[in-house]
């Protein structure tokens, strides 16, 4: 399959994407001198407030750069498509966003990322910046619950950005921000399905693929193996399969309050997400789980991959609800109109 992408030189995809973002939203975002792969809030560093740094491979917009904003992350850097950013870029971001109150690293649990962020945090400590880390690890299909720390992070990290970002914005200290980030991540569970693969521009060939008429349940956002390959199921069946794994995992129980995120991996249209949510809502209602807030759209993608994921975050106390409901703004999530 030929590449159906609007790009120039495949080697320039990452840099030109970032250049475009910066030109589109100069009031909200700025570069760090000398780094073509990092963005920070225009007002960073915010003195006395905890900075939140994130990052990961390119190709997942609005992840990661899109979560830099008021009430969200303070800075982010990205690597090549589907590859980790380097510890140098992470260190640059760390220094640029530290307002004296320390920095939280909040990103997905992939070994290239964790090792680079760990290395950056060691270098940051040398520079006198305190760093704490929370890893997105919400994909229930990637390891059994007993090995939860091996699980990979997918779209559920959005709840981490929102909740930790609101806590940092409020002026809570690093320990407190870290602790709500952990709480958000710990209480979030996700599962995805893939209906097609995607092509890494620099490679020019499909990074992974899903056979015509088939779908892969639990496939990761870089084509990591799922739990089951099946013929294409209906939306209702997919919602059922997802919630059958998600709900018992935490577990979510009758009487719980939750936030729900129905995420497109790229090519899957909003119409399909709402059809999926239509069933998910019914299942949750039947189980006595109250939905406090729903997000539907592209929150963490894999370029033009077809597929979707559902993430559910249990809101275990009033503080979580308050932080989730606090205002937030990123021009990549809500760039739409004036404010």
């Amino acid at each position: 399959m030929a590449m159906r992408k609007i790009i120039n030189d495949p080697e320039l995809v990452e840099d030109q994407t970032i250049a475009g973002i910066l030109k589109a939203f100069p009031d909200y975002l700025k570069r760090i001198d000398g780094s073509t792969r990092a963005l920070i809030r225009a007002d960073a560093p915010v003195a006395g407030k905890v900075g939140i740094a994130t990052g990961g491979g390119s190709g997942h917009l609005p992840l990661f750069l899109g979560y830099v904003g008021k009430g969200l992350a303070t800075g982010a850097c990205v690597g090549n498509v589907f590859s980790s950013p380097s510890s140098d870029d992470m260190l640059d971001v760390t220094k640029a966003i530290d307002g004296g109150a320390g920095v939280l690293y909040l990103y997905g649990n992939y070994s290239g990322d964790t090792m680079n962020f760990d290395m950056a945090s060691e270098m940051a400590e040398v520079e006198g910046i305190t760093v704490k880390t929370t890893l997105g690890r919400d994909d229930v299909t990637s390891a059994p619950i007993a090995e939860i720390n091996r699980r990979r992070g997918v779209a559920g990290i959005v709840f981490g950005f929102k909740i930790a970002g609101a806590a940092a914005e409020e002026g809570r200290d690093l320990d407190a921000v870290h602790s709500v980030a952990e709480k958000a991540i710990f209480n979030t569970r996700s599962m995805g399905v893939a209906l097609s693969g995607t092509t890494i521009p620099a490679a020019g060939i499909p990074g992974f693929s899903v056979a015509e008429g088939q779908m892969e349940l639990g496939m990761g956002i870089h084509g990591e193996p799922g739990v089951e390959v099946s013929p294409l199921l209906t939306a209702d069946e997919i919602a059922g399969k997802m919630l059958d794994r998600i709900l018992p995992d935490l577990p979510f129980s009758s009487g719980d309050t939750a936030a729900v995120l129905v995420n497109s991996l790229g090519a899957t249209a909003p119409e399909e997400l709402y059809i999926l949510f239509n069933k998910a809502e019914e299942i949750l209602r039947d189980r006595g789980i109250k939905i406090h807030r729903t997000l539907v759209g592209e929150y963490a993608t894999s370029m033009e991959m077809a597929g979707a994921s559902i993430s559910i975050c249990k809101l275990v106390d009033d503080d979580m609800v308050k932080l989730l409901d606090a205002p937030a703004y990123s021009p990549l999530l809500t760039q739409h109109f004036g404010r």
Binding site: S111, G112, M115, M119, A203, G207, G220, H222, P225
Partner: protein
């Protein structure tokens, strides 16, 4: 030892980059298929800082080359490579007189660095399973009075055996770990990359000693 480190990196670039496709294919089977491009871009970066490093201490050459690799090709392999070079280099920090006698110590420090960074154990089906036996074999040969060439040959043989042994292992960490039992049957790509690198070092030793 003045610019031997740079010579060995040149040998690695010359010999391993042409084998990138093999690494890509192995990584595509149990990882994400980027190890070929990682080695290519990483070694390209190492080569391009090489000239500036000429005449500087071996510790600096190791650390700077490792950092250049990861900056250009950040990834699991990239950061592990950088860590190994920085931690290995630290053993001989700023010394001008680094020689064959230091190699085992550098190797062990590098290995410890990899274990600290990656938190994997021997037997988890990683590059540790290729590197660890190589360092032990080198050390044993060297302490028992073997020549650099002989010790290197011993290291490469042990590395080969360790790499082959990864085929039957089940991955317990990182990306391949998500495959569970399906990771059995494929030789670990990172271990294979380490083997190719040691084989390139062996060629350099054969040509230069």
């Amino acid at each position: 030892m003045t610019d031997e480190v740079l010579g060995i990196f040149k040998a690695i670039s010359d010999e391993v980059v042409p084998q990138a496709e093999i690494l890509r294919d192995l990584d595509a089977k149990i990882g994400d298929g980027d190890l070929g491009i990682t080695i290519t871009r990483g070694m390209e970066a190492v080569m391009s800082v090489s000239r500036d490093l000429q005449g500087t201490p071996a510790s600096n050459q190791l650390a700077r080359s490792g950092m250049a690799f990861n900056r250009a090709a950040a990834s699991t392999f990239g950061v592990l490579f950088a860590t190994a070079m920085m931690r290995g280099g630290a053993v001989v920090k700023d010394r001008e007189d680094v020689g064959a006698a230091d190699i085992a110590a550098i190797g062990r420090a590098a290995l410890q660095g990899l274990m600290d960074r990656g938190k994997a154990k021997i037997g988890d089906k990683t590059l540790l399973d290729a590197l660890s036996p190589a360092i032990e074999a080198f050390d044993e040969a060297h302490t028992s009075g073997k020549s650099l060439k002989e010790a290197t040959d011993a290291a490469v043989d042990a590395c080969q055996a360790g790499t082959t042994a990864t085929i039957e292992m089940q991955s317990r960490v990182s990306r391949a770990g998500w495959l569970g039992e399906r990771s059995i049957g494929v030789q670990d790509p990172g271990a294979t990359a380490v083997l190719f690198m040691l084989q390139a070092a062996q060629s350099w030793v054969n040509a230069n000693t």
